[in-house]
Symmetry: C2
Subunit: 294 residues, 2 copies
């Protein structure tokens, strides 16, 4: 990791976490519910999505207070999806980021409800942002609803489950990931552009950048499941192979998947050249999530 | 039921259903997910919450198109909460409104995801309403997020589960229901006032009306669980008693619960006298949900 990216992360992650925890901490709700929500929020996520919101806002020299709230909203959605995905009726995972999953600690009922509450809260915090015109809040809420719901992340999860019982082709697999993981990453990047009132063209370029980075990110995830160890990953490695799940390496071989990853990564980076302003952080963040080993 | 109320219901329920089904029907998502969402939306709910939105809007002579969308949003939240409540890890109910519950038909994973998708979609349809100023949409989204989330419905559900393992006193039981069932009813009534741009005072009176009607509704629910039959209710009767759940009849006796219900009902009705305009429908809807036998 370069010093530039390290400084960017050091500067923002503490604030992202503070904002996130205080937004949950201050609601008036049963303590065990808040504990369960905070447990998963505090379980050591990399805050990639909030960092992308902030990176785009910095590109446009936009003030950042509201970017943290948007980052918190998308992190709540991401976290709720992990809690529900880990449930016994879904992926049945006991371990996430090296820690027991939410339902292992709080039971299935509370884990389900903590996920529901995080999903719902994310829209409320966008609605309550200060110093953002209502029309922009409405646009952000609409984008988040589409990205997180049946047309985005939840729909992708359904396709993913479907892909466990039959072999997907490359196009279908791409469809899974454009929705399951791509939609929220795209939201993060597009939301930064919307908040900064970027031009149509700038927004279009950033959305396309998000598309390719999202796919590269997912291909790396599939590769790590094969090449990584459980200890490095903080979750069970080799699960995809064991469950006959359709993956990029499964369809393209490991070498083919790596080529595909490089292809998406290069397209993404070349798109950044179309933007004015300093895109160093966006480029390095992209590189970071593609080169990561966990 | 009076003819006035019957005509009101006949006029609106078909449109409520049409709007609801078409809002789900037109999203681009995996078919099995849409099927699962529509299955529970079509399972024969009484549409009480959308009818209250419409009744309040009629009181203020407000045009109704957007009231149907708000009604659809609250019905989506209500329906998702039933899907998740019925899951084996929660109430473990196989029967709802006389039909197999969502997870019995679609499996637990898809039922969980259909609930998640309905939760998320409700905020998107509010954001996409036409002919509503953005500031009003933002206010509605904020109210719905608070009513449906940890501070409202989901929080109430957590308290309710807590109440299964220990005896609640009357105040605690009221707290459960103010949140678990009251919050969404209150949202429906308050949303009608917000959309109609009612005065602060009118809104305050309606919110208080909603509070008492919500409690009366829940007390009737507890009474029906004892006095109704499974056939009438379309769900398993006597469940509360069998599970040692804290209920109004359990704390107050059946006669005491009926007195309490009458008390809340009378306060609610007397509040309506403070409002200008024709409150007949609101009064009859209130009577309908309190006198219902299922």
């Amino acid at each position: 990791m370069t010093n530039t990216l390290k400084n960017f992360m050091d500067e923002h992650i503490l604030i992202i976490d503070d904002v996130l925890y205080s937004l949950v901490g201050k609601i008036i709700a049963p303590e065990q519910l808040k504990d369960s929500m905070l447990y998963s929020l505090k379980a050591g996520g990399k805050r990639i999505r909030p960092l992308f919101v902030l990176a785009v806002c910095e590109l446009f020299n936009n003030k950042l207070k509201e970017a943290y709230t948007i980052g918190a909203a998308v992190e709540m959605i991401h976290t709720y999806s992990l809690i529900h995905d880990d449930l016994p009726s879904m992926d049945n995972d006991d371990l996430r980021r090296g820690k027991p999953t939410n339902h292992v600690v709080y039971g299935e009922a509370l884990a389900t409800l903590a996920g529901d509450a995080l999903n719902t809260l994310s829209f409320g915090i966008l609605a309550r942002m200060e110093n953002v015109p209502p029309a922009i809040k409405v646009e952000l809420i609409n984008l988040l609803s589409v990205a997180a719901g049946a047309e985005g992340m939840v729909g992708g999860q359904v396709l993913d489950i479907d892909g466990e019982s039959r072999s997907l082709n490359l196009e279908e697999l791409e469809q899974v990931h454009v929705n399951k993981t791509g939609a929220l990453l795209r939201f993060s990047i597009e939301a930064g552009a919307v908040l900064s009132e970027a031009s149509e063209e700038e927004r279009r370029v950033l959305v396309e950048f998000a598309h390719h980075i999202g796919l590269a990110f997912q291909i790396q995830d599939d590769i790590l499941d094969i090449e990584g160890t459980s200890e490095e990953l903080g979750k069970t490695a080799g699960k995809d192979l064991a469950s006959n799940k359709s993956t990029y390496p499964g369809i393209l071989t490991i070498a083919g998947a790596k080529d595909k990853l490089a292809e998406h990564y290069e397209i993404a980076i070349s798109l950044l050249e179309k933007l004015n302003g300093d895109t160093t952080i966006l480029k390095e963040l992209a590189e970071y999530i593609v080169r990561r080993n966990k």
